[in-house]
């Protein structure tokens, strides 16, 4: 096949730079679309994961069977200390949460801090992707009747879609 018209092969070659510019423009646009979409999806999923974790923490902070006088965020150590891990995970099953979790309750207050420490849930695998950590301030009522400031720390991973 021969190139027609007066331009011939020369005319085709003259339009090659224009073709390259068009290809560059399309590549820039496609890369922009892909990047924006990937960023949007990642951010949305990250926000949704944190929201689910916050809801879970709120649920734990409001669990009446662990609280003193059902006061939100005031854990009764007499109830927490006798709770087994299987009791806790039965009360907060991973199927309902939609993720695996490890939850830790520790006093940060004045005296017997090291004794007021409880951990429930599962062992977090090192290097798990999409791990979310949330610390929620709360209180522990000690057997002596003191109210200690405390932290409830949640680490969540393995999110169900």
């Amino acid at each position: 096949m021969r190139f027609g018209g007066n331009d011939g092969v020369g005319g085709f070659m003259e339009e090659l730079p224009a073709l390259l510019v068009v290809l560059v423009a399309i590549s820039v646009f496609v890369a922009g679309v892909a990047s924006a979409y990937a960023g949007y999806v990642e951010r949305s999923e990250s926000l949704a994961r944190r929201d689910r974790c916050q809801a879970f923490v709120q649920q734990a902070l409001s669990e009446p069977s662990l609280l003193h006088d059902s006061r939100q965020g005031l854990f009764d150590w007499g109830k927490v200390s006798v709770l087994s891990n299987s009791d806790f995970t039965a009360r907060f099953p991973t199927e309902r949460a939609g993720f695996n979790y490890s939850i830790e309750l520790r006093a940060i207050g004045n005296s017997t801090d090291s004794l007021l420490h409880a951990r429930f849930g599962f062992d977090a695998p090192s290097g798990a992707a999409q791990k979310v950590a949330i610390d929620a301030p709360c209180n522990i009522l000690t057997p002596e009747g003191r109210v200690e400031p405390a932290i409830m720390g949640l680490v969540a991973w393995g999110f169900a879609p």
Partner: protein, 179 residues
């Protein structure tokens, strides 16, 4: 050297126009993407407010510990059995009655230590008490000396407590920000 013909120049001109349009479209996408980042910032602000609210509740409800200081008329005041909220309201009353602020250094440092532990290393904070007549009689913070130094980007949570002297209520506000 062979020069581009008029058709070649026209094609390059069109292509450059097309490139400019694509760059503008990509910029619009970038701005949209930044908008999503703003949405994330809004969510972060809501989470910081929630954290401030929980931290203030946990702090005020906590035990003040065993502190003794000379109060009004040099009477010995002991904070044993008091919550931090009650001890702060008492401190307000004492300060308003002329007790020097130096008497409360140990107690306030303990409150400061607890607040730091509740809020974590990633945040700065300030606890301010006011009684309506005085703008802020007490400010406890690791990082600022007065509320004028508060950054614009911050979360806050307040609790209103009845005053001991029967006057106006005491407002306790916790300001939290990321450093």
């Amino acid at each position: 050297m062979k020069r581009f013909g008029s058709s070649g120049q026209s094609a390059i001109f069109d292509a450059v126009i097309f490139l400019v349009i694509m760059l503008v479209a990509s910029s619009v996408l970038f701005m949209y993407s930044s908008g999503a980042a703003w949405q994330q910032d809004a969510s972060t602000r809501a989470e910081e407010s929630l954290h401030a609210q929980r931290a203030l509740g946990a702090l005020l409800r906590g035990d003040a510990g065993n502190w003794t200081y000379a109060g009004l008329d040099n009477a010995t005041i002991n904070t044993t059995g008091l919550s931090i909220e009650a001890s702060l309201v008492q401190e307000m009353t004492m300060l308003a009655g002329g007790v020097p602020s130096a008497h409360f250094i140990g107690m306030n440092e303990n409150i400061s230590k607890l607040a730091r532990a509740l809020l974590g290393d990633a945040r700065d904070w300030a606890l301010a008490l006011s009684d309506g007549q005085n703008a802020s009689l007490i400010v406890i913070s690791d990082s600022i000396a007065s509320l004028a130094e508060l950054p614009a980007e911050r979360a806050a949570s307040s609790a209103v407590c009845p005053s001991l002297s029967g006057g106006g209520d005491v407002t306790i506000t916790l300001y939290v920000w990321r450093h």
